[in-house]
Symmetry: C2
Subunit: 230 residues, 2 copies
Amino acid sequence: MTTLVLVSHPHLADSTSQQFLKASINSDEVLWEHIESQATIDIEKEQAQLRQADRIILQFPLYWYAAPAGLKQWEDTVLTRTFVYGDHRYPLAGKELGIVVTTGMPAKAFQRGGAEQITLDAALAPLAAVANRAKMKWLPTFAIHQFAYLDEPAKLQLVVDYQRYLTQTQPDNLQNKQAWFAQHLPAMIERLPLEQQQAGQLILTAFEQQQTDLEALTDTLGLIKEQEDD
Amino acid sequence: MTTLVLVSHPHLADSTSQQFLKASINSDEVLWEHIESQATIDIEKEQAQLRQADRIILQFPLYWYAAPAGLKQWEDTVLTRTFVYGDHRYPLAGKELGIVVTTGMPAKAFQRGGAEQITLDAALAPLAAVANRAKMKWLPTFAIHQFAYLDEPAKLQLVVDYQRYLTQTQPDNLQNKQAWFAQHLPAMIERLPLEQQQAGQLILTAFEQQQTDLEALTDTLGLIKEQEDD
């Protein structure tokens, strides 16, 4: 699978969350691009990248309940009517569109009665309408609230969740999650510092054992259900 | 009342609808500004203008279910956190925010089951959330659908409706509408070509007569209601 990550941020170097996310990417399957770093937007190149990707991620901080101006400029420029739905070709049809959004407020602020008085879904509705127009598949939003306040365990969890969001098969169910870890755990352990390699190997063995146990459990459950259906 | 019209359009000179709207403005109460015409946004000047206005109008074509990138850039730059709600001063509190939006689709496209699959209200929700955060009063949206297909009578109607949207006291009820026409009709008739002046005077007389009739009717209705309440 090819994933294209389009990052919009007017001051990327100053953003600790964006730098953290960028450092978390560790896959040949992921193409990363910073929209504002381009003096002018190369429409042909951008459209070619979009055509090639299976999953397109728009990643940005929430500024006034929307993406920064840079992403809107990209939309207004690259997503020409002809490209998106002209001539009924729909080159983006079937591709997945994911949103990675960072906010300075806690999650609870984005609900009825919350400080922001708007849900993330409502704030992202214009982008969802674009996805709909292009016949793309909208993925559940990946929101990171108040990154600066995350402790180390939460940040480690974020790395893994983010990597999965970029490359794991959707939907995010147990089966797809397991398949993803089975594929990525060995390489993740190899990248550990030498003194943690042994602990990593233990985790891998435990994971593999659990996988076998889960398969056996699933089989048993399947048999019970079959008997219930009789 | 002071109205500030902030127009966002990347190619204003090419837009017949924007040129039409600009020509429709005929009032000293209205300050008109084209956002993209400024090489750099003068934050101090923009904030001062906002402070002075009673009604702020954001006017733009709907691009991908939102304002053009230029308006988002203006938001991201001018609407600093400190300006909007920092120190709990809220300099925009109580001001009216109106949206004049042009679209290339018919009104019926913006509903459940419509071609766009999103309502204008939903598309403008991020802007409404900004208004809410700034403690501004959100006015009913002024939407102009498929301007290019409007015939002459519809365009004349649009001129009047637009002028009222910019300067008439809200809400848009009979009383406020009457007061607005009483104030503006004489000047509107004066601007008519000479051969239409007489027809204009007749309209003015008819309007004044209707106003008297309406007042009498309202009084009668009030009396009937009073008796009903007994």
